[in-house]
């Protein structure tokens, strides 16, 4: 049985095409994934990300606890700021990628992937035994009462101006305009108590996440739509993050290729030199030193080619497999752009080919193949910069 967010009925009434994702019934698009992608790049889009896990970690040892389980340096995280980090297991493998928001001196919000929510909570509870003894709560569980929070993402160049309309006073508007990247503050939006953070998963720098009570998420959702935001589904979320070069758990992190931050250019979120020891530190370092394969971003040279997907092979000019596609989606200009793990790093401008394997494999070419039979044609691609230029 798929879980539903508080916005499920709102998605259906907007004509959202619903699909299963991480155990939740979520909108993949409303009218057109492509138009939704463009809306975020040029104006402002609104995503229901209330399927994502929101945890609350409180107590005098909350900082020490998070520093022990997460790879980033939590001891350096100031109140009103956030950081991206990983949970590693004892073997140094990625359990999940997370965002840590410090909302008060001894209080942190931790946002985790929907599909990993239960696994993460179980892992964190097991590590919380003994000296840490933090108050660790799932803010999507009804037992959190008035403290319950879910995440909505408002992303794109017009998102700041739109959000201003919902703020209560000039002081809040000033706080929003002074909010740096990764900052967070508490305010009200259209009368609803909310944490507003300047974070996101689209590659946009004017971008916010809004943490509200699920009972108020529907009213806030409609207030944001009325103010001019375009509802966007999971397909646009995926194409925006792929174009931006951001990893998705199960594709560019962990997953069938067992990828880790050092493979994908995110090693700087694993702070080997931080004062605190953290779970997986030594094994991660050994694993990182031995690995040569690297993630690249690529763009297909032509439009109208078959889209590739996780697992499709990357070939060099001689037809040798030198990599594996991890994600692929249509970019702002209408080309297919993707991420691929290559056996070793490659500079932007390097050409390769991708074979988009169809569900049904055609007959292989053989001598005197009958006219009209089909073979697989590799499509040319070019490695581009690891990150999208704005």
């Amino acid at each position: 049985m798929l879980k539903q967010t508080a916005l499920h009925a709102a998605h259906k009434s907007l004509g959202g095409k619903m699909v299963p994702f991480g155990g939740w019934d979520m909108p993949v698009w409303y009218s057109s994934a492509r138009e939704e992608h463009l809306a975020v790049r040029t104006v402002v889009g609104l995503f229901d990300v209330s399927h994502m896990g929101v945890l609350d970690v409180r107590g005098p040892h909350a900082c020490a606890f998070l520093d022990h389980v997460a790879t980033n340096d939590v001891s350096r995280l100031a109140v009103g700021r956030s950081q991206y980090a990983y949970l590693l297991d004892d073997a140094g493998a990625v359990i999940d990628d997370i965002m840590i928001y410090r909302v008060a001196d001894e209080r942190y919000l931790v946002v985790v992937n929907a599909a990993n929510n239960d696994k993460d909570i179980e892992w964190l509870r097991a590590q919380n035994a003994g000296e840490f003894a933090c108050d660790l709560r799932d803010l999507r569980d009804p037992t959190a009462g008035a403290d319950m929070r879910v995440d909505l993402a408002l992303q794109g160049p017009a998102s700041q101006v739109l959000l201003e309309k919902l703020l209560p006073d000039a002081a809040a508007i000033a706080a929003l305009s002074a909010l740096p990247w990764a900052g967070i503050f508490e305010t009200t939006l259209a009368g609803h108590t909310a944490f507003v953070s300047r974070t996101g998963y689209t590659g946009e720098r004017i971008a916010y996440e809004l943490f509200v009570h699920p009972d108020e998420s529907v009213a806030l959702w409609h207030a944001l739509l009325d103010a001019g935001a375009r509802p966007c589904g999971l397909a646009a979320r995926d194409s925006l993050r792929t174009e931006a070069g951001l990893p998705l758990y199960g594709h560019e992190l962990a997953g069938p290729l067992a990828l880790a931050p050092f493979h994908i250019g995110f090693d700087n979120f694993v702070k080997q030199q931080k004062p605190a020891d953290f779970i997986g530190k030594a094994t991660y370092a050994a694993y990182a030193a031995a690995a040569k394969s690297r993630l690249v971003r690529f763009r297909m040279n032509e439009k109208g080619v078959r889209p590739s997907k996780l697992g499709d092979p990357v070939l060099d000019r001689r037809g040798r497999v030198v990599g594996t596609v991890t994600s692929c989606a249509q970019d702002t200009a209408g080309f297919l752009t993707g991420l691929a793990l290559l056996e070793s790093a490659a500079e932007p401008g390097t050409g390769f080919a991708v074979v988009a394997l169809p569900e049904r494999m055609p007959d292989l070419l053989k001598p005197f193949a009958p006219f009209g039979s089909r073979a697989l044609v590799p499509d040319a691609m070019t490695v581009v910069g690891r990150w999208r230029k704005e």
Partner: protein
């Protein structure tokens, strides 16, 4: 999804392909319902002019980033034209599934195959049941 359109002059397969008479020949494509269900199309595989295809045989593939679907022949015949603009602009099917997004034109083996297809009102009833 918004309510999908049905071309009253076409007849349909349950798998959402349509055929529409054009003189002695027939134009074939996929329905508005099918393109909405697929989402933005990014790739179309077409047959060649001269291919002879049987009823119910797969003659092409349409793919969005999220899904791939085979396309089946509503009528037997020989392909006399293919819409090659779809190779570079597959989203023509999203814009006008019954217009610029046509896929192939055929010379039918048996024009009476057309009568065996679902008429527009029967197909509409099928969609109403599916979309309800």
């Amino acid at each position: 999804m918004s309510k999908s359109l049905v071309d009253a002059n076409a007849r349909y397969l349950k798998t959402h392909e349509w055929a529409r008479p054009a003189g002695e020949e027939f134009v074939i494509g996929i329905s508005d319902h099918a393109q909405q269900a697929m989402g933005d199309l990014v790739y179309v595989e077409l047959p060649r002019v001269g291919d002879k295809v049987a009823v119910g045989e797969r003659f092409g593939v349409v793919e969005s980033v999220k899904a791939a679907s085979d396309v089946y022949m509503p009528m037997a015949g020989e392909v006399v034209a293919v819409n090659t603009t779809l190779e570079t602009a597959p989203d023509g099917i999203n814009r006008e599934p019954y217009g610029e997004g046509w896929i192939i034109r055929i010379r039918p083996t048996l024009a009476a195959d057309f009568d065996a297809l679902l008429d527009a009102s029967t197909y509409q009833a099928l969609l109403d049941a599916e979309e309800a």
